[in-house]
Amino acid sequence: MKTSGGDATTVEPTAGQFKRTAPDRRRLSAFAARYGIFVIFFLLVLFLLIGSPSFRQPNNLWNILQQNSIIGVVACGMLVMMVAGGFDLSVGSIGAASSMTAAFVFVQGSIPLGVFSALLVGLAVGILNGVLIAKAHINPFVATLGTQVLVQGLVFVGSNAAPIYNLPPGFTLVGLGHIGPVPIASLIFATVAILTWLMMLFTRFGHYVYSVGGNKEASRLAGVPVDAVLIGAFAFGGLCAAIGGLILVGQTGIGSPSAGLTWPLAAIAAVVVGGTPLSGGVGTVQGTVVGTLLLGVMANGLNLFGVSPYWQPAVTGLVILAAVGIDTHHRFKTEGA
């Protein structure tokens, strides 16, 4: 309705028109939806930097990177699988199998062959997972639960459940060595993260992963080789788990058949906290990296503040719920508006 008074003409909204929200509030909501987890991570780090003199020591910050490199690498692989619409419960068993394979071959005398064998094991199990899901149409939960138990059993049978000791000391450089102040394990994590980011954003395969995760049938109808993409995603996940196993051997100097028991849930937590939904089709490497570091910084902070080991799981759970809850709430509000 137009009204006029004096020299000015104003237009007032009619009953049928919706009110426009203030541009600043909309921009803030969009920012929070996109970068919420980064803000939460930043605030947590700021709190710890101010509250704990030990936290802000350079050694401590490098240690956090080193301590979370294994889960970070595994989480990069888990991200690709989750974006493709699945997830992998066998990453821990793959890590154990890879670490045992590497340790066995190291003791025979060849580090390069040990590394190659370990990566091959990870790739093979990852491909098996992909084939079971893509070709046999087994649900990812069931398929990877099955391979997790199968691989763990085979490792126990092959090793009699005995760890492998007396590894060549040189390989501990991978887990505990530094280049300058930077832990080598963190450099491996950074390399894997960058390669994953490049793959997901700049290769056809990466685009196909997002497409398949978004809508498998539509992708198939559009000519995307869905089965090959799924197999590729899980093969990549297996490879990342094998790299995690190699870093673990480097850190501990032992091939351990029961390693990696907590990896599946830790990696899924890192990816979900980083903003990737379980439904697939969406997710970023940078979010996964931040999710990994957020959980690592929290664990470090709890240790430095001397929080009782009985309280730590409860505090960790609360922070995860809060972080993911706030982030999800903002996304819902922005996408739902």
């Binding site: 240690n63 000791y165 505990l176 673990l248 032992i254 664990a299 470090n300 240790n303 080991p309 009985y310």
Partner: protein, 316 residues
């Protein structure tokens, strides 16, 4: 027809004693059917324990069935119930929870199946033939005494625990803290669980070495052997001021002690615990009950330091 009757009679006469003998004579392997429930067969400690059990079973003609309790109480209970259903002659339990296993041990007793506890005890209420192992409380006390040898009667200490709620964690801590109460100038300034995991123990040790600069932390005591990785990292960081006292004695710890990375450890001898558990089971079932030490057979816990590490072979 008469000829056939004669043949049948001869066959029956010849076969009857054999049949009677077969049914009357008990088969040794059937009478020595022993089930062994180990709360977590994937724990490296139990590799040699189970090897000891299997070696004893092979030597003594015992039909041994080892099953994994998978670190879950409900699985441990289910395994023992399965042994009861299978009518094992005797059950050996290595429980993860001394109290939680009591009801199913009572079930076994009600079914007339004797139970032997090994390595970890069964709490009061669960009647067992005997307990073979070392006392985790004494183990913790020995760790405390080794700590005193390492740092004297004054200093700050970090204490790394095993998986919370397990019998070794609870009772080693009990023994350790009880002994430490006599030394008021030794303070436990930090306590965390590494869940018997090397990578977790490494992270905890790294965090503490950052939190407590040189001179502020005298020692780190770990209930288990997984602290060896943290000890190696400490040496790499130049933190020779922190002494490491561990528990159990795998090959990595032996090397660390001889290399002066770890001050010392307490040995538990899993092989002989396992061997003795089956040996006692066989003796009990054969009626040689005087050969079974009751109510407990406590095994010694040797203390290993650099002085004797070369002469004591590792547990695993």
């Amino acid at each position: 027809m008469k000829c056939l009757e004669k043949i049948v009679r001869r066959v029956v006469r010849a076969g009857l004693p054999v049949a009677v003998l077969a049914f009357a004579t008990p088969t040794l392997a059937q009478d020595l059917n022993v089930g062994s429930m180990v709360w977590d067969t994937s724990n490296p400690f139990y590799v040699n324990f189970i090897k000891g059990q299997r070696d004893a079973a092979a030597k003594l003609g015992v039909n041994l069935d080892v099953q994994n309790g998978a670190s879950r109480l409900e699985t441990q209970v289910a395994v023992v119930q399965q042994f009861i259903a299978q009518k094992k002659n005797l059950i050996i339990v290595v429980p993860g929870d001394a109290q939680g296993i009591v009801p199913v041990v009572k079930e076994a007793a009600a079914a007339g199946i004797p139970v032997i506890a090994a390595n970890n005890a069964v709490a009061e209420g669960g009647k067992v033939v005997t307990f073979i192992g070392s006392s985790n409380e004494i183990f913790g006390k020995l760790q405390c005494e080794l700590l005193i040898r390492a740092i004297g009667t004054k200093g700050n200490v970090g204490y790394i625990l095993g998986a919370l709620g397990t019998d070794p964690q609870v009772n080693r801590e009990k023994g350790f803290m009880k002994c430490l109460s006599a030394y008021p100038d030794i303070k436990v300034v930090a306590k965390q669980t590494a869940n018997w995991d090397n990578a977790q123990a490494l992270a905890i040790a790294q965090d503490w070495l950052n939190k407590y600069p040189k001179g502020e932390l005298a020692a780190i005591v770990d209930q288990g052997p997984e602290g060896v990785t943290g000890a190696q990292n400490a040496v790499q960081m130049g933190r020779h001021d922190v002494k490491f006292v561990l528990g159990n004695y795998p090959a990595t710890v032996q090397k660390a002690i001889t290399d002066d990375v770890v001050f010392g450890t307490i040995v538990e001898d899993p092989y002989n615990q396992g061997y003795l558990s089956v040996q006692y089971a066989a003796a009990w079932l054969k009626g040689e009950q005087d050969k079974v030490d009751r109510p407990t057979h406590f095994m010694n816990n040797p203390v290993v330091t650099k002085e004797n590490a070369a002469t004591i072979p590792p547990e695993m």
